[in-house]
């Protein structure tokens, strides 16, 4: 049976929860939008949450004693298996509830990873978890490279970006493959809820997290996480860059609910790509021709998304 949600007409800052579950004192870099996104997500999910984290920045900056930022149960196992761990936690909880060992109640199981832990090494276990239909949310915080080990390319790194393993130079333009579209791969699993979100749009993000939590079965959130350190940009611009990513069409905000796609932040007139790339050192080497090529592709993808809107995928 399809779960339906009533549209939320009013969303004001005062309606956002004050409760924090990912608290201050962690070791994230200045201007880390990923830590910002994690804080927002867990502020909404609240206390009855268990988190399984893949290896990555968020593991390193938030977990070590005595700087632990988590005030909910949290487990890290390895790099390739956050979704499998979350699957196990969810299955264990449901058995315990079924046997009456613990009371029946909603405990939100969350698997989380970066783009490397999701799109590369963790894709197999993520696909398995989605296919098995565990009642969990998996969240990919996408900062578009392996930032924890020092800015190496992933399959989620955008075309043309310079990283330490896709260095730009006379023989290379940097990353030479196009970003892997994980949200659409997840949609291909026919799970009830898939969405992209960004901490630069907190209300949109909040609504999507709530929907993901409410849905029965697996939900996948792909959250844009600007990384000033890895993208070679000013740390005070992280939120602005997140907005520019949406307004230039680089990272469109949409959701796929029961297979039906809806763009949640419409941008009929996309801004020029340069407004997005000019602030980031990782794109500094790109010439106009390459930028135009990227812009064409971005526009093309965005129009494709628009055409799919309202259609059952």
């Amino acid at each position: 049976m399809a779960t339906t949600f009533s549209p939320i007409s009013v969303f004001a800052a005062r309606l956002m929860p004050k409760e924090q579950r990912f608290v201050s004192g962690h070791r994230a870099c200045q201007g880390c939008a990923e830590a910002l996104a994690v804080r927002m997500v867990h502020s909404i999910l609240g206390r009855n949450t268990i988190v399984a984290s893949a290896t990555g920045c968020m593991e390193i900056i938030s977990s070590s004693y005595p700087d632990t930022a988590w005030t909910v149960p949290w487990i890290h196992v390895a790099f390739e298996n956050a979704a499998a761990v979350a699957s196990g936690v969810e299955a264990g909880l449901s058995i315990l509830m079924k046997k009456g060992k613990i009371p029946q109640r909603k405990i939100q199981v969350v698997g989380m990873g970066g783009d490397g832990g999701t799109a590369d090494i963790g894709l197999q276990s993520l696909s398995g978890a989605m296919e098995r239909g565990h009642d969990m949310i998996y969240i990919c915080y996408d900062n578009e490279a392996y930032m924890n080990t020092g800015i190496q390319r992933s399959s989620s790194t955008p075309y043309g970006a310079s990283t330490t393993t896709s260095p730009a130079g006379s023989l290379s333009i940097g990353q030479h493959t196009w970003k892997k579209n994980i949200p659409m791969i997840m949609a291909g699993h026919k799970i009830p809820y898939v969405a992209t979100a960004s901490p630069s749009y907190p209300f949109d993000l909040a609504q999507k997290v709530k929907k993901a939590a409410k849905v029965k079965g697996p939900a996948y959130l792909h959250i844009y996480a600007c990384c000033p350190t890895g993208w070679r940009m000013k740390p005070d611009m992280a939120v602005q860059i997140g907005r520019l990513a949406v307004e230039t069409g680089v990272f469109p905000l949409y959701e796929i609910e029961q297979g039906v796609l809806r763009i949640t932040h419409k941008t009929p007139e996309l801004r020029p790509l340069k407004e997005y790339t000019k602030h980031q050192g990782r794109f500094r080497h790109l010439d106009d021709a390459t930028l135009e090529e990227i812009e064409r592709r971005v526009l093309d993808e965005y129009r494709k998304l628009e055409r799919r809107e309202g259609l059952a995928l």
């Binding site: 290896t55 890290h76 390895a78 790099f79 390739e80 490397g116 590369d120 090494i121 894709l123 392996y146 080990t149 020092g150 190496q152 390319r153 399959s155 330490t164 393993t165 896709s166 260095p167 130079g169 023989l171 290379s172």
Partner: protein, 388 residues
């Protein structure tokens, strides 16, 4: 055969071990590497990603270590000298493919910049606790070669040996660096290309035919069959299943025994030829410190302090730890009273020393959990106790 000058960065450099390892691979003729970021080995692939394209080589970052460890084997059968680089958890993921390389006799080099473990352990700090994994980490019976450099200079020099041995014995060679050596920056002198000896791949002399036998021995080499060149009409079948000389699966006890006997013997019976070790003041030593990798530098200090105190202490350093330099250790055993084995784990290589010594001298472990190197004074205290 001498090195191709294109890949040799002749001169004196100030490099860390990770970067020196990349240069060693280039000098050895490696032009194809696959890898995946993992601390503390990431700097090797970072340098590879810059340097390999400059000499016409290929570096691809794979989706994980499983992908890296098998992609190199595809490239090896395609005719390239290949390597992959990782650490702790990544090496654990590669284990199935290390066994495959042993079974299919694929020449390849696995660089392991060891860190503290098990599991995620200490990503940024040192360890030497993967020595038994390097030997027998994959399932089944096989032998590998494991080399432990103790300086950036050796990360360069011994990387060349690693590729040469991989070609000579058609085997996965484990290049066992550690975080200390990988992140230590020192003077590295890279010689002229014509001073670097390179072992080229041995190809079959038989013409392509329907009866071509992939694993048939040639050239009076009783251990290592030559490989077929790719693109010259040879049709062959490579499999991890137990296979006959033709390369096809033949799953019976006889074939298994013949095959495994050979892939084990090619290392065991050549152990003396492969052996590489160093000794310091062992001539008159009553106590011999045994250490490899970074720890072999620590024990030199212990030896000096012990000598100042009038104790007759020497150092035996296996440069190639697997196969263990058994013959030399047995010789030393007859002239010394005790061995103190120092390693950054709680007893791995010491087991091999104990096995060889078999009670004829005292064997004591100076263990350490990793994350840091030994304090030479701690080892000295142990030496003094043993000397009593």
């Amino acid at each position: 055969m001498k090195a191709d000058p294109k890949g040799v960065l002749t001169g004196a450099h100030f490099l860390d071990g990770d970067h020196a390892c990349c240069e060693g691979a280039l000098a050895a003729g490696c032009r194809c590497a696959f890898g995946y970021p993992i601390t503390p080995s990431t700097e090797v692939v970072e340098r590879i990603s810059r340097r390999f394209p400059m000499v016409g080589g290929v570096f691809l970052q794979m989706e994980d270590e499983i992908g890296s460890s098998i992609a190199i084997q595809g490239a090896a059968w395609g005719g390239k000298k290949v390597m992959t680089v990782s650490s702790g958890p990544g090496i654990s993921l590669m284990m199935e493919h290390i066994g495959l390389a042993a079974m299919t006799e694929t020449p390849c080099v696995f660089v392991n910049v060891q860190r503290g473990g098990p599991s995620t352990g200490l990503p940024t700090l040192t360890g030497q606790a993967d020595m038994m994994q390097a030997r027998w980490g994959s399932h089944g019976d096989y032998e590998t070669i494991a080399i432990c450099p103790n300086s950036p200079q050796e990360c360069f020099d011994l990387a060349i040996d690693a590729f040469n041995l991989a070609e000579q014995y058609r085997i996965p060679v484990m290049f066992m660096m550690d975080e200390s050596v990988g992140h230590m920056t020192e003077r590295v002198v890279i010689p002229e290309a014509d001073e670097i000896d390179i072992v080229e791949r041995r190809y079959t002399k038989k013409p392509p035919s329907d009866d071509y036998e992939l694993y048939a021995l040639e050239d009076d080499n009783p251990f290592v069959p030559p490989m077929p060149p790719v693109g010259e009409g040879y049709r062959f079948h490579v499999t991890g299943l137990t296979h006959d000389d033709k390369g096809y699966p033949a799953m019976d006890a006889q074939t298994q025994q013949k095959l495994i006997r050979r892939i084990v013997d090619k290392i065991r019976l050549n152990a003396d030829a492969i052996a590489k070790y160093e000794e310091y003041q062992t001539e008159d030593a009553d106590i011999i410190l045994v250490a490899y990798g970074i720890t072999s530098r620590v024990v030199i200090r212990t030896m000096e302090m012990a000598r100042e105190k009038g104790l007759k202490v020497g150092v035996f350093r296996p440069v190639i730890v697997w196969p263990f330099p058994e013959t030399r250790l047995k010789e030393l055993m007859d002239q010394t009273k005790a061995f103190v084995v120092a390693e950054l784990n709680y007893g791995q290589v010491v087991l091999e020393v104990e096995r060889l010594v078999a009670g004829r001298a005292k064997v004591v472990l100076a263990g350490h959990g990793g994350g840091d190197i030994h304090d030479p004074k701690e080892i000295l205290r142990l030496v003094e106790e043993v000397a009593k």
